[in-house]
């Protein structure tokens, strides 16, 4: 039986609804030693700014029960290196859509073929078995100021390999660079509108859970012209090393991720999906297909797998295969039938 796994996010077709989460996957090169990136719905890159950022001092991470705190501080090599190295790598690695009108049908039996050569041959032949849809690239963008976001977004307009933009207005670890823009509805609407005007690609605004009402922020992003919203970024937390009587992180606070935050994320995806008409992309502690399906049932059109990749490099593939298996088991012909059905 053939099931449809493909989804459409703001006019961009994904072969399946599973992406990586920004900051946990670099630009994919490191993980490509463990699996074929062409199996992903999309690669979401680590945040890039118009100029290089040094990030925070170490220690930048610590483990917490069923989770972790990070305060990397958006270290990135800047747009130029990102474009010439990372986007180049992704263009060389990811196969293009074989058929621009891609049928979107994915044969479940094909789902475990992780062989790039085979996938390449199929894509070249426009093999309908994989829907002919290539893995997409979502470029995550950060900035210290509105001007920096716009500068980066304008530069990305020239990059054909960037299919979608995800705007990080929610990083808890840098004072201007994220959360400052993401916690006030008026500010969110204004910066969304400015970015939307400058962007060639569809714009996904990535939202912070560190607010009183995330639904209100989602509505503000929608009002500003966002094509989609993604949530949740990490929850601000703190860990103290009692033996040394110090903060576990040099930054003192960090962003909590991992399975510990999943129920919070599901609740927020549900709230936002009921608050806006634009697509909602769900993330936060997804480890298994079941976790991803919770998000989809709560209203997410697509999902991202992040911290789970640190525990298992191929976690994102298990999520894809598990969703395909679920569709078969429950005789659901189309993944889209499940979106927001609660």
């Amino acid at each position: 039986m053939t099931h449809n796994m493909s989804v459409d996010i703001c006019g961009v077709k994904l072969k399946n609804p599973v992406m990586t989460a920004s900051g946990t996957f670099g630009s994919g090169a490191e993980f490509s030693e463990f699996f074929d990136l062409n199996r992903l719905g999309a690669v979401v890159t680590k945040g890039v700014a118009s100029v290089p950022w040094a990030g925070n001092p170490v220690p930048r991470i610590c483990e917490t029960p069923s989770g972790m705190l990070n305060a990397i501080g958006l270290q990135n090599p800047g747009f130029e290196v990102f474009a010439h190295r990372d986007l180049k790598f992704l263009s060389e690695t990811l196969l293009p859509d074989a058929d621009p009108a891609g049928s979107g049908l994915e044969d479940i039996a094909y789902a475990d073929a992780g062989n790039a050569a085979e996938a390449g041959a199929n894509a070249a032949a426009g093999n309908p078995a994989n829907g002919g849809i290539g893995t997409k690239v979502v470029v995550n963008v950060c900035g210290h100021s509105e001007e920096e976001y716009i500068d980066c977004v304008e530069k990305l307009a020239q990059e054909p390999r960037a299919d979608l933009l995800e705007i990080n207005i929610s990083c808890p670890n840098v004072r201007e660079g994220g959360i400052a823009f993401g916690t006030d509805p008026k500010g969110v609407e204004r910066i969304t509108a400015a970015i939307r005007k400058a962007a060639r690609q569809p714009v996904i605004m990535k939202l912070s859970p560190n607010v009183t009402s995330i639904a209100e922020i989602a509505r503000a992003a929608e009002a500003g012209g966002a094509d989609a919203v993604s949530l949740i970024n990490t929850l601000t937390g703190m860990k103290i090393d009692v033996e040394r009587r110090t903060f576990a992180l040099a930054n003192r606070t960090g962003g909590l991720s991992g399975p510990a935050i999943h129920p919070v994320a599901v609740r927020m995806v549900y709230e936002c999906a009921h608050a806006v008409r634009i697509p909602v992309i769900g993330m936060g502690g997804i480890q298994t297909a079941e976790d991803a399906l919770e998000m989809i049932l709560a209203g997410a059109c697509a999902v991202s797998v992040g911290t789970a990749s640190f525990h298992d490099q191929t976690a994102v593939l298990s999520v894809i295969d598990g969703i395909a298996d679920y569709l078969q088991r429950h005789r659901v012909p189309d993944i889209r039938d499940l979106v927001g059905c609660l």
Binding site: G23, T24, F25, G26, E30, F31, E33, F34, K46, P52, W53, A54, G55, V58, P59, R60, I61, C62, E63, P65, S66, G67, M68, N70, I72, Q75, P77, G78, V81, G258, P259, Q287, T307, A308, S309, F310, H311, D312, Q313, T314
Partner: protein, 257 residues
Amino acid sequence: MKYREKATVLSCEEIGTGIFSLRLGAEQIASSASPGQFVSVYSRDSARLLPRPISVCEADAEHGILRLVFRIAGKGTREFSRCREGDQLDLAGPLGNGFDLSVAQGKRVFVIGGGIGIPPMLGTAKCLAARGQNVTAVLGYRDERFLADEFPCRTVIATEDGSCGTRGNVLDAIREAQLDADVIFACGPTPMLRAIRQYSMDRRILCWLSMEEKMACGIGACLSCVCRSTDIDAHSQVRNKRVCTEGPVFLATEIEL
């Protein structure tokens, strides 16, 4: 090539207080690991998400056996210390660059280890000795010794409490024995590495240091485990080298300590 491999525990032995020697059947990793590289060891408890980076003590490619020697530092390493023969452990590796032994060709080498930095230096010393190199091991302990008897070369010891060898640190032991070298390979606590770095720069000795930092992915994607480099590096562009990828072994002059 990095592998994700299910390793089988062959033995797990306490060789010092809280220090364990774990022998693992891990064919793929053992056959490709070199001295100074490390592996990610994954907990069987899903509440502990992050792998523990542990240096390779010895890799026996012929028999597919990997030896890890580690200290209990928390819940994850405590779990590994309770492994029994036949248990399975998930590993990823070999990771990082390791020591480039070819630079020591025909030269006098110091292999310096401090505390739980000693295990990777055992495999390094054995490989150098097998090449017929002139190697001296300099080992620093707080008090209790471990692995010292296994070094296949001249070995000098420093203990903080003076219970064995020179009272003091590894540099005190080097001075007391009036030793000299052309190349240094070292692993240990940061204060020790900082002192060795200064010592090597004063004497213009080529020196490689193995660094440690808190890691998440272990493969270069997450940028958790950076250390400050002296020059702008190609990857980060901001003088942040990844310990897991550009390291853990760095030329003493290329990093700040």
